[in-house]
């Protein structure tokens, strides 16, 4: 039976629940969101309506609090402040940037705590049970490519974290809002008119950010795991012709370990899991200059052309 989602709560009810703490399920994690400020409830109401609620007595993997503001601070439009369980301020933001900072706070909780996973900094999408990992440094275009492909027959597992649970290389989905940046926002808006976006948030440390909502069906399937089949290191290059080049396993292994959030924390376990992952996948480097070109090459590689 599917869990109730956040949208079953009216805004007033959501506001009341947030005051005591609201448990939201994000893939394998539960995040507890706390704050009496109505702007937290409004943010959740607007951008997380299809995420499942977790029971109030669930263990929370992280707690994020929107710290209270005095009336004077509100009138003077002082920055909002997010904190973690201990109440210590974690990040400050303008009211219009609350969504971006909430997402970053969630990222921080996952990256710094979920060490039962090998966590790779990689987008990961799935088709027919086979996962395609897209690791990439900032600017490589992985989020943009991921945003495109999840509207072309692939299911979003995660835009940011590839969570490898065990030696069987089970990948747990963590389908979150996809933070597109700068030119990518207009590009995906144009190419995927049906896509749902959050507000454009200018002036962040990554420029202008706007969050793309995952397709509803991908959220409903957030408990369906997948196995890795391909690793493709994308690199957007407006001036290059599109090309795939096979990556030697040693290079793949080296890149994967460098892309892991917690390689040094896990030590031998990460070394062995990354080795098993390298053995399990075909690894490629992809240079592309537009999304359709990248999609065609990826379809040729993965033997599919299904779109939805």
């Amino acid at each position: 039976m599917p869990m109730p989602t956040l949208k079953r709560l009216a805004l007033n009810e959501l506001h009341a629940r947030c005051a005591d703490g609201l448990n939201l399920r994000l893939g394998p994690f539960v995040m507890r969101l706390v704050g009496r400020d109505r702007r937290l409830a409004q943010c959740l109401y607007d951008y997380y309506p299809d995420y499942p609620l977790a029971p109030d007595d669930s263990f929370a993997d992280g707690e994020i609090r929107l710290l209270g503001q005095s009336l004077v601070a509100r009138v003077l439009r002082r920055p909002l402040c997010l904190g973690l369980e201990d109440g210590v301020p974690f990040t400050e933001c303008a009211p219009g940037a609350l969504l971006a900072h909430l997402e970053w706070a969630i990222n921080w909780c996952v990256a710094s705590r979920a060490h039962h996973y090998l966590m790779l900094h990689a987008a990961v999408i799935e088709r027919n049970g086979h996962a395609l990992l897209l690791p990439g440094q900032p600017g490589a275009g992985k989020s943009t490519l991921c945003a495109w492909l999840i509207h072309r027959g692939w299911r979003l597992l995660s835009d940011e974290f590839t969570l490898i649970r065990d030696c069987e290389l089970t990948i747990d989905p963590l389908p979150r809002l996809i933070p597109l940046k700068n030119e990518s926002i207009a590009l995906i808006r144009e190419q995927v008119p049906a896509a749902t976006f959050g507000p454009s948030i200018p002036g962040t440390r990554k420029g202008t950010v706007s969050h793309l909502s995952p397709p509803l069906d991908h959220l409903r399937r957030m408990a369906q795991t997948a196995r890795p089949r391909w690793v493709v290191f994308p690199q957007y290059d407006a001036d290059a012709s599109a090309e795939f080049s096979a990556l030697h396993p040693a290079e793949c292994f080296s890149q994967l370990t460098q892309n892991a959030f917690n390689y040094t924390v896990l030590g031998r376990e990460a070394f062995e899991r990354a080795g098993a992952l390298t053995d399990a996948v075909d690894a490629w480097r992809l240079r592309y200059r537009n999304l359709q070109q990248a999609e065609a090459l990826l379809n040729a590689l993965t033997g599919g052309s299904q779109t939805c």
């Binding site: 030697h248 040693a250 292994f253 030590g267 070394f271």
Partner: protein
């Protein structure tokens, strides 16, 4: 007069190093459980470790072992390359010079 290890080059695999291996063709990765470091090793470095598996060896003995293994003839460049490899591996904590007697 006591000689420095550099002048009396007998080497041994670091007895405290605990290595776990991954290999793809001639690319080797060794994870050192003790240090938590991952090392990318080429065939030469792995051959040096193999030569030291039976116990401490001089540079000349290591060179002989490698030349035998690869069916090659000795030359000064090979010896220098092995000496360089030993120095790098020593800095990584994989081998160490034996104290001179």
């Amino acid at each position: 007069m006591r000689q420095s290890p550099a002048h009396d080059p007998r080497w041994r695999a670091d007895p405290a190093a605990e290595l776990v291996w991954q290999r793809w063709e001639e690319a080797y990765f060794a994870f050192d459980i003790r240090s938590g470091q991952t090392h990318f090793l080429n065939q030469a470095a792995v051959s040096v470790l193999a030569a030291l598996a039976s116990g401490p060896q001089s540079l000349a003995a290591i060179e002989d072992a490698l030349l035998r293994a690869h069916g090659a003839e000795p030359d000064s460049a090979t010896r220098e390359a092995i000496a360089d490899t030993l120095r790098v591996m020593s800095s990584l904590g994989l081998v160490e010079p034996m104290p001179s007697r």
